[in-house]
């Protein structure tokens, strides 16, 4: 019994480095993400003043300083002195900063200094008192801890400093560049929401196309016997190392002749071309690893190549397809270079919008984080959607025991 316990303990201790590493990795990933997420939901002022981790602190102004220094004269309800009613918002809004409030301490009331020098509150308490007065009198509204305004702003592409899209619409109403109808504004060309749509329009065909073509090619490389098969496959594998940047100029000139610049078709073809070598390589290796007898069985059952591909190969190659889909989708989704060159501002994609946001709002972290989070949430969703196809033992039961 003792020995069993000791062995257990030893195995737990042995695994500590592993656990530490795993937890460390999780933290490295989760902490920045969490920071991004929280920041994206905080109002601008809060983002500028405090770090995202302070969101857990209470923001209610405390009344302790007021009670210490002011309750005696002004009363607990702030209105004990009618001539200077601290409960009235127009009175308090005169104190635009702590200095304005401090000045009143020198004045004389009823023949005595308002507050003698030695009894005055320090700066910290003064700040507390002012915050308390402002909120209690209704001079300013308590800012909300969380807001979706950042998301709303970036979705419609509202980028004025200070204020939000909702405020602007409320106060100024529609302008030539702003209809104040959310969905109408969100689909304008400089809105992030439109960028998301454009990114989808680029990514989905750019993912499906190469994988489909790679499937055909992989089937041929794996199961068909034709001249030059090995040479062609070696060539394809070699193509993987061609740097994308090298081809930008020739392809751009080709597209200019064909009129494909600034069109989705051009970007689809470009991504397909660069996705294919790796996709074919991976798919061929996977498909060639499927038991030969299953395919032969299907031929004997009367299936032609097309049907074998569709009914036997594709369903069995699902894990490879899922893996490829995730890779290709993420690569295309996060791509800026290709989209910038072949689409530019004609159909700005999300990454392009993000880079623009960086330029126009150097300090606009509240909106930057919201836009960034939108752009990372989608690949994450794609990953979670496809990861269930990473199933082991898909083939079990087909051959042998």
């Amino acid at each position: 019994m003792n020995r069993v316990l000791r062995e257990r303990l030893i195995s737990i201790i042995n695994r500590i480095p592993l656990h530490v590493a795993v937890i460390g990795l999780c933290l490295i990933w989760i902490l920045p993400t969490l920071g991004l997420l929280i920041t994206s939901f905080r109002p601008q002022q809060a983002v500028n003043e405090t770090g995202w981790w302070e969101v857990v602190k209470s923001q209610e102004p405390t009344s302790t300083a007021y009670q210490t220094y002011c309750t005696d004269c002004h009363g607990a309800n702030l209105s004990a002195v009618p001539s200077i009613d601290l409960g009235a918002s127009d009175v308090v809004s005169g104190f635009t900063n702590t200095r304005r409030l401090a000045v009143t301490f020198n004045r004389e009331y009823n023949g005595a200094v308002h507050i003698p020098e030695d009894q005055r509150p320090d700066d910290e308490s003064l700040r507390e008192i002012l915050d308390y007065l402002r909120i209690e009198s209704g001079a300013i509204k308590m800012p909300p801890r969380f807001t979706v305004n950042n998301y709303k702003d970036v979705m419609v592409g509202y980028d004025a400093r200070g204020g939000t899209y909702d405020q602007a619409c409320e106060e100024e109403g529609p302008t030539p560049t702003r209809s104040c109808d959310f969905w109408e504004d969100a689909t304008r060309s400089d809105a992030i929401f439109k960028g998301v749509l454009n990114s989808f329009a680029v990514s989905i065909p750019s993912t499906i196309l190469p994988i489909l073509l790679a499937g055909f090619a992989a089937y041929a490389f794996a199961w068909l016997d034709f001249r030059g098969r090995k040479v062609m496959f070696a060539l394809l594998v070699g193509l993987q190392i061609v740097p994308l940047q090298m081809t930008l100029v020739p392809v751009f000139r080709l597209y200019a002749d064909l009129g494909l610049n600034g069109s989705f078709l051009g970007v689809w073809l470009f991504h397909t071309g660069f996705g294919l070598p790796y996709a074919i390589y991976l798919m061929r290796n996977f498909i060639a690893g499927l038991p030969r007898e299953i395919v032969e069985s299907a031929y004997l059952d009367g299936a032609g190549h097309w049907r074998v591909f569709r009914v036997i190969i594709m369903p069995l190659a699902l894990p490879a397809i899922a893996a490829l889909s995730i890779f290709q989708f993420m690569w295309v989704w996060n791509d800026l270079l290709v989209a910038l060159i072949f689409l530019g501002n004609k159909a700005p994609v999300l990454t392009y919008q993000l880079s623009q946001l960086m330029d126009s709002l150097g300090g606009g972290w509240h909106r930057m984080t919201a836009a960034a989070f939108i752009s990372m949430a989608i690949p994450l969703a794609v990953f979670l959607l496809f990861q269930r196809y990473f199933v082991r033992g898909l083939l079990s039961g087909s051959v042998k025991g």
Partner: protein, 367 residues
């Protein structure tokens, strides 16, 4: 239903010859077994018939149609693979219906045939399961079911039993034999196991190194092997060979001198063997035809031989003796009551009525 013919069929992989000038005619409805050691070309021969391998030279006929350039799906054949090759993502029902659907069989007919076939194989309760939920024996039945449900003209089986455990294998053997009797279709069965070949085949084609060694009924293969390879391959334990034997005549008797002992050839064979007098021959006799002197079966032509007992294997219903004489070991299968001990010198009786002589050079039987 159809006959099958191999006419001068060759299969080459570059310089390697896998199948060497194969000629076989398989009449309609026959159960033919290809048997041979691994790499002898038996699977390749079957796969060429199925259309899964190109035929390098020669012709293969199904019925009276040359199928060299006919796609596998148009040859009207079905095959059971060693690994079963079930479609893992389909249910048993879909596995069986797959071929019928591709042939545009009406839905109702498919359903009828699948259920009928499943019932005849005892797998009707498995129709909704997937291959991974089946045991080895069940998978094997599904594979057979998938093949027969299409009612092919020729039915090919490529070592279908080698993934089963010993007990299931015996059951499956009778199951396939019965299936053949019931369907009456041409069956071509590939195996490396001579027991499977002997028990199931109506005729057996023994292949070695890409060449057809002999094709005949099981009994004829056993009783009259055409060459040393077949003689050694068929039968277990395999035949004893004495390579450096000579044949000579002495005082009206014909004697085989193995170099370890001498035995006399029966009178009836004198005429047959006379042309080979004085030549090197291979003398062969099966362990089954060597008895212990204490229990000599009736009606044999006895020839006594003395030898040392090296090993005794007690099988219960028999004893296998490993006998040694002058450095040469040979086996005898004797009555279990025989009183033999290891290290003893004992007398065994050869039944010369069923001995074999082969030409030492060509390894062909002297006939």
């Amino acid at each position: 239903m159809a006959s099958v013919s191999y006419r001068n069929v060759w299969k080459r992989w570059g310089d390697v010859v896998a199948v060497h000038d194969l000629n076989i005619d398989i009449p309609d409805g026959e159960f033919l077994v290809f048997v041979g050691p691994s790499g002898c070309g038996k699977s390749t021969s079957l796969r060429m018939l199925a259309g899964l391998e190109e035929i390098s030279d020669g012709e293969i006929l199904i019925g009276d149609r040359v199928v060299n350039n006919v796609a596998p799906k148009d040859r009207d054949i079905a095959m059971v693979f060693q690994s079963y090759a079930l479609y893992p993502h389909m249910t048993v029902y879909d596995n069986m219906a797959f071929g019928l659907r591709l042939r545009r069989t009406p839905k109702q007919v498919i359903d009828e045939r699948v259920r009928e076939t499943a019932a005849s194989l005892g797998i009707e309760q498995l129709l909704d399961r997937r291959p991974r939920q089946l045991s080895g024996g069940q998978r094997q039945r599904v594979a057979v079911g998938r093949a027969i449900v299409r009612e092919p003209a020729v039915f090919l089986l490529d070592e279908p039993l080698s993934n089963l455990d010993a007990k299931l294998r015996v059951e499956a053997r009778t199951f396939i034999s019965k299936l053949h009797q019931r369907l009456g279709t041409t069956f071509i069965y590939v195996t490396h196991d001579q027991v499977e070949a002997m028990t199931m085949g109506q005729r057996i084609a023994v292949l070695n190194a890409g060449k057809l060694m002999q094709i005949d009924t099981p009994t004829n293969l056993y009783d009259h092997p055409g060459n040393v390879f077949v003689a050694g391959f068929i039968g277990s334990p395999s035949m004893n060979f004495f390579d450096n034997s000579t044949l000579f005549e002495e005082g009206g008797k014909m004697i085989v001198d193995t170099g370890y002992f001498r035995v006399e050839v029966q009178k009836e064979r004198h005429e047959l063997y006379r042309p080979h007098l004085g030549k090197k021959v291979v003398f062969g006799i099966r362990p089954d035809n060597i008895a212990h002197s204490q229990f000599v079966p009736p009606g044999i032509i006895p020839a006594p031989v003395e030898a040392n007992v090296d090993v005794v294997e007690e099988m219960g219903h028999e004893k296998i003796l490993y006998l040694e004489e002058g450095g040469k070991t040979f086996l005898a299968r004797v009555d279990p009551r025989s009183d033999v001990r290891v290290g003893q010198r004992t007398q065994v009786i050869f039944n010369m009525a069923v001995m074999h002589l082969f030409d030492a050079e060509t390894e062909q039987a002297l006939q």
